[in-house]
Symmetry: C2
Subunit: 115 residues, 2 copies
Amino acid sequence: MLLPQPAADQIDLATVLTALGDPTRLAIVGYIARNEGVPLNCSQFLDFGSKTNLSYHLAKLREAGITSAETRGTSRFISLRRTDLDARFPGLLDSVIASAIKMPFLLRDSAPASP
Amino acid sequence: MLLPQPAADQIDLATVLTALGDPTRLAIVGYIARNEGVPLNCSQFLDFGSKTNLSYHLAKLREAGITSAETRGTSRFISLRRTDLDARFPGLLDSVIASAIKMPFLLRDSAPASP
DNA sequence: TCCTTTATTCAAAAGTTATTGAACAATTGG
DNA sequence: CCAATTGTTCAATAACTTTTGAATAAAGGA
């Protein structure tokens, strides 16, 4: 079951930029980007903050229209809304991710990043 | 005389995104983008807020590394740091501006926007 | 059913940002 | 020098955001 999220055509630029402007959320987005295809749940982001704080940041990303979350049992599957974002703000997500991915803060554990 | 601004290699992605995430500042950036080449001073942005509030937002943009401001008498010349931003975050400013420029909020007066 | 896992909600506290008006500074022109 | 123009700084306040811990919820397995 899909958690509530804005329709593609209602994604707002300022809201997206504000959501991406937080270092924790930028790190989260970078991490998701480096793990596309891998099923991610919330607890995989515990490095980025406490469980309850993560819930807050992940909700922000979802409400901004940056991520999508699907319920699967007690877990969530989190993914980037690449197609929707690219359609609405062409090039934006790619450029942010390309820059974010270089940030030392993002270079954490368990990712299939090419070295 | 150039007002204080971060060196190109010290421009921070999260700071830039946060600065761009405010609707007033996004409008200001869109306006500058639509008037590149035209000398802009602060009072030309008065549509976007009070004088004192503009001073605040323009300082935010400058401190984030998005704009450059030069003193000329009692006026300032304000411009986008396109080269620096493009070097540091390729494609980011272009995609933001391309999207911002479509926002109805931005379609104000005196600009050479192609209709 | 009961326990564990996974994640959210709530209320409080702490921190940050935006907005305002009054006072200030610096430059230009008469 | 005086006044006008242009923009900044300051202090106050209002509004929002982030972080926290405790309580809650919902699903799945023993």
